[in-house]
């Protein structure tokens, strides 16, 4: 039976569409979606995968068919048909990709807005906050729980900059997040501090179905806070504070990863995101406060580090740590210098 080419083309088109639709929705390439934002991003990715699969198969199909069907026969030294172009066809394959990328742009814009990327309110607190620590020295970072870490981001209304990060979704614009966490990246660890409760932790604990805002800073070099299951990432930039606002949706434990090259042990800069139920989160906060209170009491007996500069605080330990006391002195100088600038 001789099937006309137009029928074959139509059948191939239908088959291609069906395969693309199926694979676009069932690729299983992404990890679990643990936030509302992640679900939005996954929908966008699935759409792009559907279109991409079709386009990919189309191009590969044409290549394979051409290689098989149009290969030169032995002793055939003639030329092929002199087809220079075809204006309608060229318009078609210019217009279709243009419409597709326009569509993806608009859809991406919608998703981004939905996530809070265009939150105009998030431009309120982004000030230059020049790191005053010895660059690259993890030991010079403000110690967790000290005044500087807890108070970030520093407010300076006269020095407003444009917001960086992902802010509140349109539904939450103008509201404050349920939980605020100040995040500090330093070689090679993440420090999470909770200004409302005074808790400081090496792991990120958040309640499910509550809006969380991370204010992200870096002490030494660039880092990037990546939460793969939340499909969120934001660079931690020395001298600036950036933010991420999201609503975790699934209770569980997920990785927290540094995605920006930050030095030799960059690959080891990991932590955990623990999404609790709201009740579990409250009890975690309480338990941490109790631990912190005990520690403060013990420290108060000896000395209160909050009143000391890093240099003074670290001086007794300098010898054990192999640090030259002169460097500590410079540290104090740079601290004072930075303070004068602001």
């Amino acid at each position: 039976m001789n099937i006309p080419n137009s029928i074959l083309t139509m059948l191939a088109g239908i088959g291609l569409t069906l395969v693309s639709l199926w694979y676009g929705q069932n690729h299983g390439l992404l990890p679990v979606a643990a936030s509302e934002e992640a679900t939005h991003v996954d929908n966008l990715f699935n759409t792009m995968m559907t279109i991409s699969t079709g386009l990919f198969l189309l191009v590969q199909g044409v290549l394979v068919i051409a290689a098989v069907k149009y290969r030169r026969r032995k002793d055939d030294n003639t030329d092929g048909p002199p087809i220079h172009g075809n204006i309608p066809l060229e318009i078609l394959w210019t217009a279709i990709p243009a419409v597709i990328v326009l569509g993806i742009s608009v859809y991406s814009f919608e998703i981004y807005n939905e996530m809070g990327g265009l939150d105009p309110m998030s431009s309120h607190d982004h000030t230059l906050n020049v790191a005053h620590n010895m660059p690259g020295a993890a030991i010079a970072a403000p110690l967790p729980g000290t005044e500087e870490t807890a108070s970030q981001p520093q407010q300076a209304p006269e020095q407003k900059l444009i917001a960086l990060g992902v802010g509140a979704s349109p539904a939450h614009e103008g509201t404050t997040a349920d939980v605020v966490v100040n995040v500090t990246g330093l070689q090679f660890a993440w420090i999470f501090s909770y200004p409302d409760s005074g808790v400081t932790s090496g792991e990120l604990h958040v309640p499910a179905n509550r809006e969380v805002q991370l204010n992200i800073a870096a002490n030494d070099v660039l880092h990037a806070l990546w939460l793969p299951e939340l499909r969120l990432k934001q660079d931690a930039i020395p001298g600036r504070t950036t933010e991420l606002r999201f609503t975790p949706a699934k209770v569980g434990e997920y990785p927290v990863i540094c995605a920006e090259l930050c030095g030799s042990y960059h690959g080891a800069m990991k932590s955990r995101l623990i999404v609790h139920t709201p009740e579990e989160f409250d009890s975690w906060v309480k338990s941490q406060q109790e631990v912190a209170n005990r520690e403060v009491l013990e420290q108060a007996v000896a000395v209160n580090p909050a009143n000391l500069s890093e240099g003074e605080y670290l001086a007794p330990y300098a010898e054990d740590m192999g640090v030259n006391p002169q460097i500590l002195e410079q540290l104090r100088s740079s601290h004072d210098h930075a303070a004068h600038n602001f």
Binding site: A66, Y70, I83, S105, G117, L118, H132, G136, K233, L261
Partner: protein, 588 residues
């Protein structure tokens, strides 16, 4: 031999040298001004750097074969991938494109040499010391802040290595600019009379677009590197936040060059495909003007997309939207090229030699890189995959699946012209098969790794990614092995391969209208255009019924067998205009 080829060759017989040009081996170690010598100097030198960069990549993949940092120290690992990337970009792909252009471009436009031969030689001779300088950094602690060298990390991780990296890049950038000036002037001023821009081979269009990008963007990188150098050595704080500097400004300056650099790396090989595909399909290139102008469109758009590398760092929301749209729009001119190549292949008489196989491999792999390029242009999705293995996969599909496949295609295509001898096709096909399989085994799983949560530039990773990483590493070894058939084939064929003749592929562009290898100054007389560069099959045009011609309304283009008229050669310089006239009259 087909009618158009006969027409073109017979018209240029007087222009052709009597004897193939021969060079002594010593010539290649001199400050020689001949563009052909310089072209080969570029290609051999850059290929050596490719092998060195490949060895570094193999070391990186050996480290990543297991989740722990057990093969090299984390510091050395960072240096390995930093120098690997720097070599592959600045000492392999970019100068390899310049190497082919140096050899082929003057021949294609019928020129005796490049516009500024000594500048040309200087541009090349900057490269070996710059490369050696970069490698010497391993003696003092190689740079380890990635090829992006973002401050503040670059300011604190080994000053000597970092400064060497900066100096090396400044030299290579200078070389690149000198080369680009030469290409632009050569294309504008040295085409034979009668070769208008629309008769110019598409490789020349691609080099024009590439050179424009180099001239506009490279000085910005130089500025960024010089300021970074001040921060590093003089204690200034342009980018150093401890002194009030802004590291984000460096990123803007860096990417203002380094995103266009992707097009600097790929555009020449788009040009190569536009030569290889029609010649080996025996068909005219489909949509000549669309392909030519899309190169310029890519060149222009390439300059306004840089901030998509910074979606997760320092760009405000509205700016992210602007750069998302401009980045996605580049898919349109790129798509035009891909579809035009496919249409050229479709219905042709494909000579599936190594050059065409690599060209088809280029399309096959580059299309995936292009698709993922549109994906990462989408801000919400890019936020997830930025700085992950998904991006590593994407960039390798563009720069290996694209540029390196393009380089190999160009090698096989023009090797007979450069050496006068044919390469062995069987070994060429083995080379292609190993490269194509090795490439996909290495880089395809990286998409999954990135989506699942593996960041890039890590020496140690979560054990759950171990299996896929092992697959990638095995693929990398296969890729390393795949270079051997090529090296052996090239060396053996260069000395012992069968003689190629002047025009082994029955091509129509002017480089094939002289001897192989061409004599000094290329042609004995000014060559002429008896046909367009891609007029395959035009000789039988009268017998073609119902074939859609886009040029039906253009009398010059639809001149058919007498398309010599299209070139409108200057009678004062045309070698034998009467011959061409007679040729067309005979057919009428």
């Amino acid at each position: 031999m087909t009618q158009q080829v006969q027409l073109q060759e017979s018209a240029n017989l007087p222009a052709r040298g009597e004897e193939p040009g021969q060079r002594k081996w010593q010539d290649y170690f001199t400050f020689n001004g001949d563009h052909k010598v310089i072209g080969i100097q570029y290609l051999v030198t850059t290929f050596i750097f490719y092998l060195i960069g490949g060895m570094l990549a193999t070391a990186v993949r050996t480290e990543l074969a297991t989740p722990d940092a057990d093969f090299v120290s984390p510091e050395l690992y960072n240096s390995l991938f930093t120098v690997h990337a720097t070599i592959m970009i600045f000492l392999w792909i970019v100068p390899a494109g310049a190497g082919f252009a140096n050899y082929i471009l003057p021949l294609m436009i019928g020129a005796k040499d490049m516009a500024f031969p000594k500048l040309n030689a200087l541009a090349f001779w900057i490269i070996p010391p710059a490369g050696i300088l970069l490698l010497s950094s391993f003696l003092v602690g190689a740079p380890g802040a990635g090829w992006t060298s973002y401050p503040p990390l670059s300011l604190i991780s080994g000053k000597a290595g970092e400064e060497i990296w900066i100096l090396s890049l400044l030299l290579l950038g200078t070389s690149s600019i000198l080369g680009a000036v030469n290409f632009v002037v050569t294309i504008f001023k040295m085409r034979i009379p009668g070769m208008g821009f629309n008769q110019m081979p598409l490789f020349c269009w691609a080099m024009l677009a590439t050179s424009a990008l180099i001239l506009i963007a490279t000085p910005v990188l130089a500025a960024a590197l010089i300021l970074l150098s001040f921060d590093l050595l003089a204690g200034t704080a342009f980018f150093n936040p401890t002194g009030g500097g802004d590291p984000i400004v460096y990123q803007h300056m860096f990417w203002f060059y380094s995103h266009p650099a992707v097009y600097i790396m790929i555009l020449p090989f788009f040009g190569v495909l536009s030569e290889v595909i029609p010649v080996n399909s025996r068909k005219p290139i489909f949509g000549y003007k669309a392909i030519a102008y899309s190169s310029l469109a890519i060149s222009f758009l390439g300059l306004i997309v840089w901030a998509h590398h910074m979606f997760t760092s320092g760009t405000p929301g509205w700016l992210r939207m602007f750069f998302m749209i401009t980045t996605m729009v580049i898919a349109v001119p790129t798509g035009i090229k891909i579809f035009s190549w496919l249409a050229t292949l479709w219905g042709g008489k494909l000579r599936l030699n190594s050059a065409l196989l690599f060209a088809m491999g280029f399309i096959s792999t580059f299309v995936l890189g292009g698709i993922t390029g549109v994906m990462v242009a989408s801000v919400p999705f890019d936020i997830h995959v930025h700085d992950t293995y998904f991006v590593v996969a994407h960039l390798h599909y563009v720069l290996f699946g694209g540029s390196v496949f393009g380089i190999y295609s160009a090698f096989y295509h023009w090797f007979p012209k450069m050496t006068g001898r044919m390469m062995n096709e069987t070994w060429g096909r083995i080379h292609f098969a190993l490269t194509y399989i090795g490439f996909n085994v290495t880089f395809l799983p990286m998409h999954v790794l990135g989506l699942q949560g593996m960041p890039r530039r890590v020496a140690m990773y979560d054990p759950k990614f171990a299996t896929l990483n092992l697959v990638c590493s095995i693929g990398a070894y296969l890729l390393a092995v795949s270079t051997f058939p090529f090296i052996i084939n090239a060396i053996w064929s260069w000395s012992k391969g069968p003689k190629a003749g002047d025009n082994p592929w029955d091509a129509l562009t002017l480089e094939w209208m002289t001897t192989s290898p061409p004599p000094i100054e290329n042609f004995d007389a000014t060559p002429v255009l008896a046909t367009g560069p891609y007029d395959y099959g035009m000789g039988n045009r009268d017998t073609q019924v119902g074939v859609p011609f886009s040029d039906a309304k253009d009398p010059a283009l639809s001149a058919g067998p007498s398309s010599a008229l299209r070139a409108d050669p200057d009678p004062a310089v045309a070698a034998h205009p009467d011959d061409r006239q007679g040729e067309s009259q005979n057919r009428e």
